[in-house]
Amino acid sequence: MDAGEFKEKVIPLSGKLFHFALLLLKDHAEAEDSVQEIFLKLWKMRNELAEYNNLEAFAMRVTRNWCLDRLKAKKPRYIESYSLGYELYSEAENPLRMLENTDQMTTIRKHLQTLPEQQQTVIQLRDIDGYEYEEMAAIMGMNVNAIRVTLSRARNSIREHLIKIGNYGHPANQNSAR
């Protein structure tokens, strides 16, 4: 794979990889640094890239493993922020704030951040990026059944959370939520 082919096939994945990294790392600068490192890694193995029949799933897998390794390296902060439910990145540096101008959007994003990493990831991969179950299994190194279970939990969690906090004017829903 030469530079032209690499730019044509691999670099367009950068947006997805970046948002995936951002989801996992919660830090704009760190996600961008990681994506650059990941692309350097991909560039160095460009001769082997043709062997992967699903290049995108492979790149996503590399990204996830990279980010999880980085999180492991600074674990204390990571655990703390999850268990205490802190806001994981400030509104000021949140790159998505321009898009999410409604309370509902913010609510969903914040709730997603309190979920376990695997649930966040399956929502990102399926409901945002639109991957097939087989691709998700390849990216996450899990089997399809485990992916479905995790995804089901994550979707129910979001829905129940929205029902719980939402002022939908349907008390019946709030009662049936649990």
């Binding site: 530079a3 690499f6 730019k7 670099i11 367009p12 950068s14 947006g15 997805k16 970046f18 948002h19 961008e32 994506v35 650059q36 692309f39 350097l40 560039w43 160095k44 998505l96 898009l99 999410e100 509902q104 959007m105 609510t107 969903i108 994003r109 990102q124 399926r126 409901d127 945002i128 990026d129 639109g130 097939e132 992916i147 479905r148 279970v149 995804l151 089901s152 979707r155 129910n156 979001i158 829905r159 929205l162 029902i163 939402g166 939908y168 349907h170 829903n173």
Partner: protein
């Protein structure tokens, strides 16, 4: 698609059993709604959130420009990069072998005892003499200590006084003579 079918699909969706096609149908249904049916509001919020995120996800032109520049930069350093991983590993292995073997050779060479080679026999003789003298000097140093053994004799000399004891004993023999004369007197 009527609301009953949508609700069936949503149940499948919650169990993570929908296909991507069915999920797309749900998205389109919620995107095209003018009025939200009761109980479906959470889904509307969730799908709107996912849509906004996925539209965002594909567009990062600035990042792509940065990465292209990075790749161009890397491409120009190609000769070095081609030496990556496997080649570097082989080179370092070879360097290690060379390093170890030279160290072993040097150490072995230095460990051989220096026999002291002399081309000139006269010089060799002098050197040997010097060495032998040194040895004899150190040997003599040891024999000096042995001279103390002669002091042992001086002790023995003192024992000669014992002979004086004998001379005293000889005088005592005169007493027996006295005994002899007394018996003679009784006989007379």
């Amino acid at each position: 698609m009527d609301i009953r079918q949508i609700k069936i699909l949503l149940d499948k969706y919650n169990r993570a059993e929908t296909t991507l096609g069915e999920e797309q149908m749900l998205r389109e249904f919620f995107a095209g709604l003018s009025e939200i049916p009761a109980g479906l509001e959470p889904y509307l919020s969730a799908f709107r959130y996912f849509d906004s995120m996925s539209q965002k996800a594909v567009q990062e032109p600035e990042l792509e420009r940065k990465l292209e520049a990075l790749i161009d930069y890397e491409k120009n350093r190609k000769p070095f990069i081609m030496l990556n991983r496997k080649v570097i590993r082989w080179i370092s292995a070879a360097a290690l072998v060379v390093l170890i073997s030279t160290t072993v050779l040097v150490v072995n060479k230095n460990r051989k005892p220096d026999m002291g080679t002399f081309d000139n026999p006269e010089l060799a003789y002098q050197e040997a003499q010097r060495a032998l003298l040194y040895i004899s000097k150190t040997l003599n140093h040891g024999t000096k200590e042995l001279s103390n053994i002669s002091k042992l004799n001086s002790g023995v000399e003192n024992l000669k006084n014992l002979e004086k004891l004998n001379s005293g004993m000889d005088k005592l023999k005169l007493i027996s003579k006295l005994d002899e004369t007394s018996t003679n007197e009784n006989n007379q």
